[in-house]
């Protein structure tokens, strides 16, 4: 893969003896030898570039800052107020940095009779789970068959689905470990909601997979070159949008963290940077949701003119605004209404959509897989 930057090589300064390499037992000497080759160096630099810059840390921090600023300004304007005002250049852009520094200063409290190990493990897990999901999303084509993604596999959609289904366990772990009635109720609600909305999520993905013919996200985007999948499966788009909203628990489907009923759901007892991690993972989830929606239905990086990555970011930006606007337009649904909507309304719609997809592909042969 030709990288836009020059590769560093091991420094052998003339005049000084070459750096003696350590002699290690059998399995490691092969590893050391392999690390000498330029091919490994190239892989290491590229991987660190991906981990630390684009889909990794720097992008997430930047996106979170913009998302926090955008969301709070959007809600403020709808509430006829001003929103963050004093921190940072454009009226409060550095609000997340300010909140982060504040949270870093706060003490991390451990509730008295809570299960210490699992209590402190939960926020770390929820954050890492959200970040891992980013590793499998292809962002833009680099070569003919090459894509800019941390781990390229033909089953990337399946892996993401598997990671999505891991989320309720971490919430139950947090709810159970913090030894508080409200967190227990929040954990049970998390189990209900996330399981209820995984089925429509899968079915709406299924319709896209049928049209694209493969589980690989890159191929799905490639097959949307001339017609975005939102056109044939618009129903699928709606079902997918609503069920991802439930998966990342955004209002109006956020009974997991319903402040008015169960204080803050499974996350009630967390303070300090643990609370920061949980909030951060919420914005990473919004990023994932908008990436997935734009890749599956809005044709990923396809778009006239601009660089493919820019197109993906534009679509993702607009979609994340739509994920966030729910907070100030609809009140929260009750748990039984929410589950009823999940099981009785979304799943039939998704099934209809799958039927349409099958008809389109195999019966009318309109779309060649």
């Amino acid at each position: 893969m030709n990288l836009p930057i020059s590769l560093p090589t091991l420094p052998n300064i003339p005049g000084l003896p070459p750096i003696p390499l350590p002699v290690l037992p059998p399995p490691f000497d092969v590893l050391i030898e392999f690390m000498q080759t330029s091919e490994f160096m190239e892989f290491a630099v590229e991987l660190s570039l991906k981990l630390l810059v684009f889909p990794g840390l720097a992008f997430i921090m930047l996106y979170a800052m913009l998302a926090v600023w955008g969301e709070r300004k959007l809600h403020a304007r709808i509430h006829l107020r001003i929103g963050p005002y004093h921190v940072g250049p454009i009226f409060g852009l550095f609000q997340l940095v300010a909140d982060g520094i504040k949270l870093l200063g706060k003490e991390i409290v451990t509730p008295e009779r809570s299960h210490k190990f699992f209590y402190h493990l939960a926020p770390v897990l929820i954050m890492s789970l959200s970040m891992i999901t980013l590793a499998f999303i292809p962002f833009f084509p680099v070569g003919p068959g090459e894509y800019w993604t941390i781990y390229y596999s033909e089953y990337s959609l399946l892996i993401i689905l598997a990671l999505f289904s891991l989320r309720p366990f971490i919430m139950i772990m947090a709810g159970w470990a913090s030894n508080n009635k409200y967190t227990m109720m929040g954990a049970m609600r998390a189990a209900f909601q996330l399981l209820a909305y995984e089925v429509p999520l899968m079915l709406s993905m299924a319709s896209v997979v049928i049209l694209a013919g493969s589980f690989d996200l890159a191929k799905i985007v490639e097959s949307q070159a001339n017609m975005w999948f939102i056109v044939p499966c618009f129903l699928g788009f709606i079902v997918f949008f609503i069920s991802t909203m439930a998966e990342i628990c955004r209002r109006p489907l956020d009974i997991i963290v319903a402040e008015q009923e169960i204080v803050f759901g499974p996350w009630t007892e967390y303070t300090g940077m643990e609370y920061g991690l949980i909030m951060m993972s919420e914005y990473v989830d919004v990023a994932i949701a908008s990436f997935l929606t734009s890749i599956l239905f809005l044709g990923g990086w396809h778009g006239p003119g601009l660089h493919p990555l820019v197109w993906l970011l534009i679509k993702m930006g607009i979609l994340s605004m739509f994920f966030m606007i729910g907070r100030s337009t609809w009140p929260r649904l009750r748990i039984d209404q929410l589950l009823d909507a999940g099981w009785r309304k979304l799943i039939p719609l998704a099934l209809v959509q799958v039927f349409i997809a099958i008809v389109l592909v195999y019966v009318l042969k309109v779309i060649v897989v």
């Binding site: 959007l74 403020a76 304007r77 709808i78 006829l80 107020r81 001003i82 005002y85 606007i325 100030s328 337009t329 609809w330």
Partner: protein, 143 residues
């Protein structure tokens, strides 16, 4: 279906209306001219009769010696700003100012001695805003 999308339409329409909030420490809202704020004592008019301390519902006013004469001393920890003392004072020695920023760190600081009550009203040194634009399409705002 319309009632799902109507709030979304209303929210987006309101996103472009005028903001209603006041940036309080930097701007201040214009109190009404009849506003019952801090109570100012006019030392020479006061005859020390104690009607104010009798009528005060929360017993906030007590009479205090000062250079041989009795003057009211107001404890803002108890005062409920009902304005009865100003209304029932026979010599109109007490009057309202438009100040309402009289918070203090300790309860003792809240007890205003007659001298402190006699200080003249401080004018507002910040931008004063009033409600305007009630009839405009943009909705009311403070400017």
């Amino acid at each position: 279906m319309s009632s799902y999308l109507r709030p979304l339409y209303m929210a987006l329409v309101h996103a472009f209306k005028r903001t209603f909030t006041v940036k309080y420490p930097f701007e201040i809202l214009q109190p009404a001219e009849r506003y019952r704020g801090r109570i100012k004592l006019n030392m020479d008019k006061c005859i020390g009769c104690g009607v104010c301390s009798y009528i005060c519902p929360n017993r906030a006013i007590t009479l205090v010696e000062h250079e041989g004469r009795k003057y009211p001393q107001l404890d803002y920890g108890r005062c409920c700003f009902c304005g009865f003392c100003v209304e029932y004072c026979p010599r109109a020695a007490l009057e309202h100012t438009q100040e309402y920023e009289i918070a203090a760190y300790t309860k003792e600081e809240l007890i205003y001695s007659p001298l402190k009550m006699a200080e003249p009203a401080k004018p507002f040194d910040r931008r004063i805003v009033t409600v305007k634009g009630l009839d405009s399409k943009l909705g009311p705002g403070h400017g």
